[in-house]
Amino acid sequence: MIGLKSVGRKTSAGIERRDFLKVSVAASGGLLIGFHFPGVSALASAQPSSANSFMPNAFVRIGSDERITVIVNHSEMGQGVYTSLPMLLADELDADWSKVGYEPAPVDPKYNHPAFGMQITGGSSSVWSGLDQFRQAGAAARAMLVGAAAQQWEVDASALRTDNGAVLNGAKRLTYGQLAAAASKLTPPAHVQLKDPKDFKLIGKPIKRLDTSIKLNGKAEFGIDVKLPGMLNAVIARPPIFGAKMKSFDDARARSLPGVRKIVAIPAGVAVIADTFWQAKVARDALRIEWDEGSMHDFDTGKMMQDFRERAKTPGTSVRKDGDAVAALASSAKKIEAVYEVPYLSHLMMEPLNCTVDLRADSCEVWTGSQFQTVDRANAAKIAGLPPEKVQLHTTFLGGGFGRRANPQSDFVVEAVYVAKAVGAPVKVIWTREDDMAGGWYRPAFLHAIQGGIDESGNAISWKSTLVGQSIMAGTPFAAMMMKGKAYDPASVEGVDDLPYSIPNVTVQSHQAEVGVPVQWLRSVGHSHTAFAVECFVDEMAALAGKDPYQFRRALLQKQPRYLGVLDLAAQKAGWGQPLPKGVGRGIAVHFAFGSYSAHVAEVSVDDNKVRVHRMVCAIDCGQYVNPGIIAAQTEGGAIFGASAALFQELTFENGRLQQTNFNTFPVLRMNECPEIETHIVENNEKAGGIGEPGVPCAAPSIANAIFAATGKRIRRLPIRMTEAV
């Protein structure tokens, strides 16, 4: 097992820009195969710069030392892409898995996401988007190695087979390492035959991750660990209020502190550059800065939610309209309404933001845990005053990402380039935990008002949703692409716009709130709040109809077999309907997000207003899957991520200032609070879906619904506070 060092000046030096379908001998004397798959995706070819979609991809290097390096174009932030994507390639290659390693791809259009047209890790898309790319790259490499062996043995290639890193001809055997140089002289095949899934040796198996051992001895290099000769460290004083501008600063004391090299105003704030991080941090805290507080000086989230409540009473932009929900409400035998509220959330990766830059006269190197390489490189280049090709961005391990490290403005990269420009030496900018939490780009707060009606028999006949919240796309360079001409942000309403229940009259309307808080995608994005509102409200409708919440959902999902599949699986594995200890309640939720179906059953008790989640049973249908071990890990992790938000997390502002600062005021679920979690995977051959995010959305509603089962009280605002339950 080879875990290649992910960071370093030499890391990507072996991979050079290559022409279409050209193969050459890599520095190691091995084989580097470049591939290009025209028309891989309709979306990619629909990009304005469609010239990019004809650039080659390069995914594998085979060394004469037998080492097989898979070059991975997605960032490893815990979701296992440095294992699952190499598995795809290695399986088709018939590689010896113990010789397979990984390497982060440099920034190059050939590593663009086939669906998104740029280099990005997000949208739970790495595996489904890489499925063909990596399998074809492996199959083509195999064909060339077989071709080289056929030449050497002077036999027809069709007489040969491959196994475990070697080409075989009866008792004769040539290893891939022995064949690498000869294979590199061959022309890549125009067409390759992929394996029949029944012949998979790796795909579908719980293969152990390739990046574990270096995460157990301190050797894995995260962005914050990057070391360069002569490197300085910087900490930045950023505005205490969004939109505030620095008026003046007094650095007399800060300048006199040990290790301080330079203090300089940059667009992001005031940067203190010192020999070490700690010196820079101490000096930063000694700065006295006067701010022009700007228009957000009296921003208050309490008042904002009050405004949202008023706005929800007015008609919004139409997102979906089936039948006439208003008329059906009027004629309903029974109706209810509920208003659900969720707060701003911080991504709160364990590794705070950081970025290291070495800026020279005609080059710039950047080291960071990026989820957004194309954009980060372009933004860095702009500030560096260099063409993007002169900027090398090295993707390190990410100590969590959750969307924060894919920032449309590359905030944490751009400011580091400014600092490097000012100081004229390699420099690492580290955000303190407090800086990271106050730095914005949160999951937006949302209000979701729902009205529903049932007929005399208890059938749901009307549903009207009205959402109020900020758009994460508006104002970004991606607004046009992501909003696709719609008058609303699809990311605001995803998860309710496709309400799956058979209800004849459904209206969904959206209000886009303009608030000066920078917002962004956070793990499961819109689904992180729509699933809470929708699945809690379905539960309320079931209670109104006097029906069991699981059976009520079943009845409304008869035309939705995959929703039904996960719902039934979770209910069955959880023992739905079977007795529970006194005081414990069961809640259920089902949701579709990022191509995958998920259902959770939570078991919860409440004691002295304190919520305890005992058990979460998760069912996941992500179609064809690659590594069930990773799927279980992501599902468990998603459930815990969602439970943390549901139970504890809220960012609030008073007088424009964030009230939370660190883990003590924005808690994360801890070991002693962690429920037992089971994951059950639906087996099928459906199109592969995502796995990084689909585990999150059902956590909050299944817990909230379990609280109702345990206490008879409804939760309509997150984080859950029993004192607010109704």
Partner: protein, 156 residues
């Protein structure tokens, strides 16, 4: 000058005594396996051992280590053979991996004090170590597994 030993090697450093041990380990000694997460002993990512006891190095001034013996993740074993590391591999524990150094260092003290820990023991010892990826269920399994591995090794 402040002198102490790190992973068995003696170091003498000219450093401000109030500097947190974490940053001395990371910046002066270049041992970056120990992580910064919160700076206020809330997350445990910076956990190291001073004379065998788990310490949050982000709030421990380096002066506290003077004359003592510090162990970091790099010193847990030379070759991934500590039972905890073996069990972590078996259970495929890490996701992003950032918190795992601290998790292992806390678990090491737990296993030394309680070679066959109960779930309650694990709760007590590990609750100071946050994981944002949600690896807790696997950490729990791995600690139990490490206890078995250590017992077997001891029996041999």
């Amino acid at each position: 000058m402040i002198g102490f030993s790190v992973n068995g090697k003696r170091v003498d450093l000219d450093v401000e005594p109030s500097t947190p041990l974490l940053w001395v380990i990371r910046e002066q000694l270049g041992l970056t396996g120990t992580k910064y997460g919160c700076g206020m002993a809330q997350c445990g990512a910076c956990t190291v051992h001073i004379n065998g006891e788990a310490v949050r190095s982000c709030v421990a001034p380096v002066a506290r280590a003077a004359g003592k013996s510090v162990t970091t993740i790099e010193g847990l074993s030379p070759d991934l053979t500590n039972p905890l590391q073996l069990a972590w591999l078996e259970e495929d524990v890490p996701q992003c991996g950032y918190c795992q150094s601290g998790q292992l260092m806390s678990a090491a003290v737990l296993l030394r004090d309680k070679p066959t820990p109960t779930d309650e023991d694990i709760d007590e010892a590990m609750t100071g170590n946050l994981c944002r990826c949600g690896t807790y269920p696997r950490i729990r399994r791995a600690i139990h597994r490490a206890a078995e591995l250590a017992a077997k090794a001891g029996a041999r």
